[in-house]
Subunit: 180 residues, 4 copies
């Protein structure tokens, strides 16, 4: 897992799907965030990343892990607008929240959140810990075995943290149950 | 993860491969053990379980996780003897230790360790924590995402223990919490 | 393979990709046609049908087999327009000709060629013989083994046909070489 | 498909499974033969070749295509004896006939039929036409699409032969054309 963990940059999203209200990092404090940067016409995203994000969303309890997609369009902008994305999310049965990264303009096709995170491309899997710190940012494929392990390591940090503040039972009963 | 966690039964092995000396639970205390019960002619073992055990063996540091195969032959005994197993382990590039479960005799084809663990069949994935307690026993397929998460949860217990000068162990044993 | 084989209905295409001039059945007479009806946001098409059509396009000589995609959009029309399709074909490295089926209008979302062939949905694999007769129309998945066999059966018909007109050597030398 | 097509060498088999009587080439004259040389502990055979042979066995009518396995053990002889092979065929649900190639002895671990065909190793897929001529011998992986096409090409030869009262056979043998 990447080192110390600086604060994850905020998300600059123009439109959200699969969520009633816009999502912001601070409101998710206390949960591990699995952020998947993708493009709907990126073959690697469709074949590997989206299905993996769905598996993570299915396996881990939403109280511990928030799975979020970020549509970082940096090519073929006209081909991947909101209407196309909405149909894509419907056809591919994507149930977790997905935000559209804000186009940057100024002759740079890279959207703003993608710039803030310095992403190389799609798919990129980003892990943010319960304190909102950026802990991993991997461009390309990440194995389920490693991703599952790293997510649980971050969940465990939270458990330990809370433990130290004395309410271990609740935290543990939550995190313990997930895995049954 | 499965419940309270009783002490894992000892292994009754007639012959070991890929290890200089016989393995015993006590000597592995402090490491998480991923024990894979298999048969070399069990298609599900060859297609899913063995490759998954190899991935676990490759990903996790041996200081934290010990991957061990247990050849629990309960059918076609003549077809899966030590000579055949040795060739199988060589051809399938299995590098982790593998033990041959002791035949039970007495008209019962089930070998002794398989009986002691009450295994339903193969493949079965068994997780034993750093304290030698049985924490999961799953017959059939376990996803990489879940297995990776559960292994890391057990690794985390050990980490927490060290951090918290032993008090964590009591908390866990009373609450049955895996996460502390 | 479906029975006697009636004449395949003509294609009503509004725009072609990956071909300099519009394709018509009569101009393809003499070649076996593998026509794949798909939608760019149909998961089954993206996962199975498109890759299979690419394999067919790579394996069989273009002199014997013409692989053609037909974009039969019957849902999410705004999401799968020509601009999106062009980007899709580029990102998914689709090199064979693809035509956009003409929207039907009149309150019926089904495009005209899709109606003429009576397609149930996407993906559908259609085989047309060297004489322009419809020989197979299968909705859903068709195995590579069966598809390869049926294509070769249709190629063989042509070979036999030509044989009877005396120029067997040329035909054979072509079809024989493909498979080397 | 590979060249002129010489007579396929006879099979020297010490024991047959899944057939009431020993199989010989002459008795199979008139059928296309798909002969799969394998070893039960060869990973590539278990993962790709055996399942592919089963698919061929399921798809093509037995009157046209005979699928036969040849157990060509050239290593770990003690690990892959008849008892082990019998269990393997049962566990992997192999329903087509399988013969054990005769050990060569004389210090050469290569069995006799494997020598006669000059096989490089396992898996090797061998195609023999309706006239008992060797038409393809491929070491390693052969795609379903290509295998299906080549089998049907050989089936078609027979069909053509029947249609054309025997003249086709001569044409083919002189031009080396597989398609007539």
């Amino acid at each position: 897992m990447t080192g110390a963990g600086t604060a994850a940059p905020p998300w600059d999203v123009v439109q959200w799907f699969n969520t009633e209200r816009p999502l912001v990092l601070d409101a998710l404090r206390g949960r591990v965030i699995v952020l998947g940067a993708f493009q709907m016409l990126c073959p690697g995203c469709v074949e590997h990343s989206i299905p993996q994000l769905k598996r993570v969303h299915d396996l881990f309890p939403s109280g511990d892990v928030a799975v979020i997609g970020l549509h970082t369009v940096f090519e073929h902008h006209d081909a991947m607008g909101p209407t196309s994305l909405r149909a894509f999310l419907h056809e591919y049965r994507v149930g977790f929240p997905v935000g559209i990264d804000r186009p940057g303009g100024g002759g740079d096709p890279t959207p703003l959140t993608m710039r803030a995170y310095g992403l190389q491309g799609t798919p990129t899997t980003i892990l943010i810990d319960r304190d909102g710190r950026l802990r991993r940012q991997t461009f390309g494929h990440l194995s389920d075995l490693q991703l599952g392990a790293e997510i649980m390591a971050l969940i465990g940090e939270g458990a330990a943290m809370t433990e130290q503040t004395g309410s271990a039972a609740n935290v543990c009963s939550t995190t313990g149950c997930e895995m049954v």
